[in-house]
Symmetry: C2
Subunit: 462 residues, 2 copies
Amino acid sequence: MSAGWFRRRFLPGGPFPEPRPAGPRSSPVPYHRPRFLRGSGSSPGATDASRRPDARPVRSPARGRTLPWNAGYAEVINAEKSEFNEDQAACGKLCIRRCEFGIEEDQEWLTVCPEEFLTGHYWALFDGHGGPAAAILAANTLHSCLRRQLEAVVEGMMAPQPPMHLSGRCVCPSDPQFVEEKGIQAEDLVIGALENAFQECDDVIGRELEASGQVGGCTALVAVFLQGKLYVANAGDSRAILVRRHEIRQLSSEFTPETERQRIQQLAFTYPELLAGEFTRLEFPRRLKGDDLGQKVLFRDHHMRGWSYKRVEKSDLKYPLIHGQGRQARLLGTLAVSRGLGDHQLRVLDTDIQLKPFLLSIPQVTVLDVHQLAVQEEDVVVMATDGLWDVLSNEQVALLVRSFLTGNQKDDPHRFSELAKMLIHNTQGKDNGATGEGQVSYDDVSVFVIPLHSQAQEGSGH
Amino acid sequence: MSAGWFRRRFLPGGPFPEPRPAGPRSSPVPYHRPRFLRGSGSSPGATDASRRPDARPVRSPARGRTLPWNAGYAEVINAEKSEFNEDQAACGKLCIRRCEFGIEEDQEWLTVCPEEFLTGHYWALFDGHGGPAAAILAANTLHSCLRRQLEAVVEGMMAPQPPMHLSGRCVCPSDPQFVEEKGIQAEDLVIGALENAFQECDDVIGRELEASGQVGGCTALVAVFLQGKLYVANAGDSRAILVRRHEIRQLSSEFTPETERQRIQQLAFTYPELLAGEFTRLEFPRRLKGDDLGQKVLFRDHHMRGWSYKRVEKSDLKYPLIHGQGRQARLLGTLAVSRGLGDHQLRVLDTDIQLKPFLLSIPQVTVLDVHQLAVQEEDVVVMATDGLWDVLSNEQVALLVRSFLTGNQKDDPHRFSELAKMLIHNTQGKDNGATGEGQVSYDDVSVFVIPLHSQAQEGSGH
């Protein structure tokens, strides 16, 4: 979303034209660097992973090019918007190795990882801001973090119910009952692995950007197919939906200053020093001005989902912590998303007010049990950055998907690539008569189309 | 839930037999004191309200007696469990007066409240713990707080869309557009009023209990019918459900240490000093012991909905911040609910560790648009304290409700009272063949049955 960066970050008339870079800029990470599903080696967190023999090459989805993937299941296309593309993508086979455990005298575990054990598929979209660096790092790193997190728990995932102790030994005879009562299943370990992988990746990006003197952040939307289930993890404002003949199901929620208002206001209430006396925590329908002083106006605070009236005091005239509406809503006048990776050095212009304390790197994870779904050939998951969803609703995308797949031959191996292209074209003022809207996106747009049928047929890969 | 207090608060084998009272106990508030819908006068927050002429008498629902209410719409019955009943209830007509505004020279508003303007209905259940004092105070106070909050915004509620300025004057020509863009409706003012009323009532209870040297807390479940909508506000583990011929809809969520785990763990992560080195923030399937040291066991932290494995360290052997499962789950080994009113002085036994920082007094509010519902004569809302829901599921209650209302004459004015009684009897091992379960509740149980049809017919009362 490079072209959209200034639009996305700054409201018309907002007081903060540009954040101060944290340090001298070095040359940016080249956006077209080939990426591999093992760590690139430049990332400390990925060093170990880069020695492992499970790499699958994936080309960077640079300007307007289709991303080829050896498995042929997914396609991604970026709009030709900017020299340095802030949308980045990664996909590939995920190869989890089994760790075998032995006990040494001091109860330390000896870990041996000899073989590929469990395979899955991985798709990820990263929508950068403040430059492409964070998105590129995330596309190069997150799958390695995830694989490492999964390998740390894969033994527990293979049992009908994860054991209390990873070794499988029962210290207490009723341990299985405790795990049963908590309702812990194998999928909870994948959810935990995704949550921890996002956090680990955020740490890696923070260190890498600081070391190279670069800045920026990105959203992250990840889909993982593993053991018959599709996991969708989202931190930011990208979106994934399931489209079937008679069903549209949103598989992710957006995390923006608006959707996370109460969490953000609560933090400012707990730590007022984070606002440095420059912002007001309260929400009003618009920014207040001198004429409002002394009057009772609509407002809400951190504890309120509803609204009330308060008498306006001088401190209420400060710039709002969250300001603007819908697409225009900004956190501290600066950022349009409230979750994602990076942004460790991001500050409000000409101040020391940091954005990072208000941002979460943790994704929300939803699980789709594909094996329970009685999947049909036309059932797909569409993942896309906000550039698509800004101009097309879920229903419009579903209409386009169904219409396209009905009209194209089932044995065409490229039809899902063509569908992804067609969706992008519909945001560019081309071919969008079908939606009857004709809206145009000026943001970068990236789309994955994942046909569920081939996933379900392939199974867990175990 | 007086008889249930010790069961609810302390796990078998838990380390904390009883919290230390904050000060010398004075004589408890008499549980049978008649209550009025205007403030009792003993509460500072209700003093002003008690001068207003809108009182409707409601008798206290003491041991095993039916609560008569002048409007005849609702019934509440308490089980005969204890000398001092910790379940308390209140219901009655809610009379909101209009505030007329004039402007003085200094832009201060002159408020005149001459007449009753908008009427609604109010039902509330309070399930006390640590004694009945907080529940009695809440039953005597919350409706006054709510009326005051509603009177402060009622002018805004009467417009098709609440105005930016309560006075209705437009400071900025596009103010209506800002309010429109935020989607603010009259119902948001009622939600805000409920949220603020709970908070205000909690402050009143804190001051009253401190002044009288008493202790305790309570859950609060409130239903308000206003302008054709039913608002259900819940803080605690009571529950309200809608039962129709072909629909069961839960109108509230329970707030317990389990359901609010992440919020509570997050707070302990932010303020580790709240645990005073005595508790571990992490969740494990069971409390860890020496044998687990050095092993990798299942755990999760504040940022995780999923699970992972961690190597056990000595600090993990501390008593867990949240311990136990389901009905047995306790916050700091002490409390079974995570939202409610009171508990300002509650501490973990023999420590200075306070519970109150972890508790919220803010309710979650859901809105049922009764006028949109095409209400039938048999449609009711069942509100009950946890004593009912511990032994009967939503489906079992719906089955009992439908079966009872089909078998009883429509013109019997007492049939909803009889239905409430029958539901209680079903938790006492009487008449519960219908559910085929035969489970018995040893907790206090209170039930309201609200027939929606008469509400819908009566309309807004405006």
